[in-house]
């Protein structure tokens, strides 16, 4: 028998932060929508807003235009600051952003 030992070529991944904690419930929460304006997000995000509002009493889903929209701006530091200062409990980002 001949054995060959060689490197795994996939490199290594560093985990530097954890996922945000999940909400205990959606009832009574404030939720932001952040739109890339692509892949029908102008339709899917408002639909998600209406579904959440129908299913969870007291939930406050901010309209899709409450924050800057577009793929090139939703990842910016300024948008991130706006989101944080708004005091929302969760953010839904889409689509494919």
């Amino acid at each position: 028998m001949v054995s060959l030992e060689f490197f795994d070529p996939s490199g290594t991944v560093e985990v530097t932060q954890r996922h945000a904690p999940r909400l205990s419930s959606l009832e009574g929460k404030r939720i932001a929508l952040l739109s890339s304006e692509q892949w029908q997000s102008f339709r899917t995000l408002p639909l998600l807003k209406s579904l959440l509002e129908a299913d969870f009493p007291g939930v406050d889903v901010l309209p899709v235009d409450a924050f800057p929209q577009g793929q090139t701006v939703i990842g910016s530091e300024s948008t991130s600051s706006l989101i944080k200062s708004s005091g929302v409990d969760a953010v839904i980002i889409g689509n494919a952003a």
Binding site: L4, F6, F7, P9, T12, V15, L26
Partner: protein, 445 residues
């Protein structure tokens, strides 16, 4: 998606609810979203990650075979079944082979170049050597690969967007300086490969592609949504034909990056397509007519609403026009320079506004945040890039006047890097001469 979260430093998992592509198309039925809303609610409330930390040294794998050939086959099969190959046979990255490749770097093997998007795994000098080993490379190629990877990781390259996009961008590395000839990189006939006498470009480009896939997670259909993926076995790595530059014409490295003649350097940018242009005249043109008709024909190929390139409208490149040394000499004899050619191509590749509007171009431009790009909406005709200087014009391709080549850009930025070679570089070149025979320009069998 998993690439995206690991790229952010998050654990390699996410609360995913996946839908068929159809739902994301114009006029789609959104019923699946209604039907699966509870999965989304669960993702916001009940989902919990299960992960283990995976950072550390590159792991070792082991196979056994009845004989050496059988072991090689099993190693190739193992690499492929782990989705770490490209379908063609690879050289197995054993420790001895990787150590040999590492002679080509003045940097320590553990030196970290960065995190390769989208997956965000660490790229070290050793990781690059592993990829180059798999790609059939040699140690003298490593300096060019390391410089290319460093440019690739520059945030201005926007590879975090280019790696996963459906647009299929292809890295192009233009090499200037004596190292191109020294390591057998092609600048002449068939410079985009393959070429057994000048094999460096294929190996370096394949290594870069393997890094993009294995480390960056750019697997077709999930890590990269590149619809067609052309030229992705080897990317495009070639040298500018510096000896073919007419007197007074600067190299690409000097013009774009300010590197002086004789400096070993690379320039990395992305394109998403290639077009061969039959540039020369058909019958009895004068030299002046031949030149002018060819210039108009090249400009005509450039005049396209290439919305993929808007992110580089101000500072990137709309593409690379490659002309041969014969054409360069002919143009220079008529008084043309690289600069005046660029100016002409820019001016005559502008798109009349009504044609841009007919193709839906303004809506794409409005999505951009760059003020220069947005301001271009007021221009009629619309220039395909903000300034003539953005057009990359390179001399390569050998002693033939008929064709030019237009590599259509997908290029937020053009990144230049000097190439650092190790002290033992001359020894490596001497070894290459022993292994591969005499230099490519004099070796005829």
């Amino acid at each position: 998606m998993k690439n995206a979260v690991t790229g952010l430093g998050l654990p390699p998992e996410a609360a995913l609810v996946t839908f068929p592509m159809d739902m994301f198309l114009p006029g789609s039925d959104l019923a699946p979203l209604r039907e699966r809303k509870h999965e989304i609610y669960d993702g916001l409330t009940r989902w919990k990650p299960r992960y283990k930390q995976t950072a550390g040294a590159n792991a070792m794998l082991r196979v056994e075979g009845a004989d050496y050939e059988d072991a090689l086959d099993k190693a190739n099969d193992l690499l492929l079944t782990n989705l770490w190959g490209d379908g063609l046979p690879v050289r197995v990255p054993t420790r001895s082979r990787v150590d040999w490749i590492l002679r080509g770097s003045p940097l320590p093997r553990t030196h970290v170049l960065g995190k390769l998007p989208s997956r965000g795994a660490l790229v070290t000098v050793e990781t690059c050597a592993i990829a180059l080993a798999m790609a059939g490379g040699r140690p003298e190629y490593l300096p060019v690969l390391l410089a290319a990877v460093d440019a690739f990781l520059d945030p201005r390259s926007e590879t975090e967007h280019l790696q996963p996009t459906s647009g299929g961008p292809i890295p192009v590395v233009i090499v200037n300086g004596p190292i191109a000839r020294q390591i057998r990189l092609n600048s002449g006939f068939g410079c985009l490969g393959p070429d057994p006498r000048r094999p460096a470009g294929a190996s370096i480009g394949r290594a870069l592609r393997l890094l993009q896939q294995n480390v960056g997670g750019a697997l077709p259909g999930n890590g990269t949504m590149a619809t067609y993926g052309a030229m992705r076995y080897t990317n495009m790595i070639f040298a500018e034909d510096e000896e073919g530059l007419p007197e007074g014409w600067d190299s690409h490295a000097a013009e774009r990056h300010g590197f002086s003649r004789g400096t070993n350097s690379i320039s990395l940018l992305f394109v998403n397509g290639v077009a061969n242009i039959k540039r020369c005249g058909a019958r009895k043109e004068t030299p002046e007519e031949d030149a002018l008709q060819g210039m108009y024909r090249m400009a005509d190929f450039m005049r396209t609403p290439n919305m993929s390139c808007l992110s580089g409208y101000e500072n990137g490149a709309p593409g690379i026009m490659i002309i041969t040394r014969v054409v360069a000499r002919s143009m220079a004899s008529l008084g043309w320079t690289k600069s005046s050619m660029r100016e002409f191509l820019w001016e005559h590749s502008k798109i009349p506004r009504h044609l841009l509007s007919r193709a839906g171009g303004p809506a794409w431009i409005e999505l951009e945040s760059n003020p220069v790009t947005l301001a271009s909406l007021n221009l009629d005709p619309w220039p395909i890039t903000a300034a003539p200087e953005n057009v990359v014009l390179v001399v390569a391709g050998g002693e033939h006047p008929t064709h030019s080549y237009w590599l259509q850009g997908y290029c937020p930025g053009v990144m230049g890097r000097q190439v650092a070679v190790p002290e033992c570089f001359d020894e490596l070149l001497a070894s290459a001469d022993r292994d591969l025979g005499c230099g490519a320009d004099v070796c005829m069998i």
